[in-house]
Symmetry: C2
Subunit: 280 residues, 2 copies
């Protein structure tokens, strides 16, 4: 396994592999790898001849009051995990090499980026779309692997890939969960024991919604109100609960077609997100 | 020579050629080809094994009151010229195939796009950057050929290519001119005889600036004022005359380093641009 810091070097190395017509699977991460990431890496190893993982805490997607500085960076542990999974290249660029002083180009996915988390994290998805566009050009993968946990991110990246004609297949893999249902996240480590227990409320609220819908509930506002009631019992602050169209992310009054139920909740200092898809 | 309308088909065709490790030169155009375009095509033929020309009047870069609808589209003449020059593929997409209904991703080059022409054509360079990002992903060229006449466009595309890590070399070729100095442009045909004669004032004003500078002039405002006086003698409306840093496009008070002198002037219903570079 090669660990490469320089964008130019990894481009060159991957270029060599591409000339051998190897298929390339790419898993972009911010490191602090957990089972969720590993499931993406395993899928990439299964489906491609060469697997590239990027580990880059992207400053462009953090707001000024967010946790960029304290975001966990256990690099040597991450590299061990990658090696164990059979990753070929790990790309670990410095922020300065991806964003030199003159950097001034941004990729915006209009509309989609202003919904859900976008309302609470202005500029976040612009940062995500921009870094992923860069990484796609550097790594030139055949397949990119994303987690369903970051549903809006996956939808925005799919839209960008289609709109800008990138030659990559976007593979979105299921959310991995702890035994009690909490979605895996690098940010879970920020919580203390009590908060950790409350955090299962996101999963429980989604299950409640699914139950209500399977029992015939159609009215989004009523379903959301029931979810709110459940979450209100915990020491949690709701950023949003939304039932939206799976492609446009626009709110749905009535459950119909494929829809996404998504929520973001603050517990202590941690902001947690989770979601589920309801298929028509 | 193959003429291909569908983005998917040309991607596939070019993919085949890339697997043979052919180098690809790309000349993006809006058609209505003139000697300026042909000089780019000839350079591309000289430097690459395969040459792709796109002919696409990009709606995204026209303002609501601009000449999108009446922009000249002499396709069969353009194709003849391409064939004669030895072009391999001509890409002639429909607007709907590049911008389907759900399209919502835009590439913005902050700062650079707001200067010079950007002030008078809001959204123009966003449209240019977005379509070029798409075309680069579709054509995957080794080299892209642009004309120096559209200086700001070339600078913005260079910035975007660097910032988003595209693997393409940007080649900017000299402006071609009529015998009387008028820069070649597909829009020159909009002018009547009298306007056509006045139009040489852009070139004359640039030459005046060069002369003043070679005689030691350093003060940009004075130079610009002399250019204004010259243009005022013609039935012309000045959009701007600017002396700017060649990379940042920010205005320079004093001539120093490499600088760009650029101007946009309306004559009758035509908006003409021209520029010259002063090397330190």
């Amino acid at each position: 396994m090669k660990v490469i810091k320089s964008p130019k070097s990894i481009k060159r190395e991957i270029g060599k592999q591409k000339r051998k017509a190897k298929t390339i699977g790419f898993v972009p991460t911010m490191g602090a790898l957990h089972e969720g990431h590993l499931s993406l890496i395993r899928q990439a190893v299964k489906e491609n001849e060469l697997v590239v993982v990027s580990i880059f805490v992207n400053p462009l997607q953090f707001g000024p009051r967010e946790d960029f500085k304290k975001y966990p960076r256990p690099l040597s542990r991450d590299l061990k995990l990658c090696r164990k999974e059979g990753v070929d290249f790990v790309f670990t660029p410095d922020p300065e090499s991806l964003y030199p002083k003159k950097f001034s180009t941004f990729v915006e996915v209009a509309g989609l980026a202003d919904q859900l988390c976008g309302k609470f994290r202005p500029g976040h998805f612009r940062g995500v779309a921009t870094v992923v566009a860069k990484l796609l050009n550097i790594v030139q993968p055949d397949r990119i692997y994303l987690g369903q946990k970051d549903a809006q991110q996956a939808i925005i990246i799919k839209r960008m890939v289609d709109d800008l004609d990138f030659s990559v297949k976007v593979r979105v893999m299921p959310t991995l969960r702890q035994k009690d249902g909490l979605a895996m996240s690098s940010r879970n480590i920020y919580m203390n024991m009590r908060e950790r227990k409350s955090a299962t409320v996101l999963f429980r609220a989604l299950n409640l919604a699914k139950l209500l819908i399977s029992n015939g509930a159609k009215d989004s506002l009523r379903i959301i109100s029931r979810m709110r009631q459940m979450i209100a019992r915990e020491p949690a602050k709701i950023d949003y609960i939304a039932i939206v169209d799976l492609e446009s992310l626009s709110p749905l009054r009535k459950i119909s077609g494929n829809c996404l139920i998504a929520l973001a909740v603050r517990i202590g200092k941690v902001r947690l997100i989770d979601n589920t898809i309801i298929r028509a």
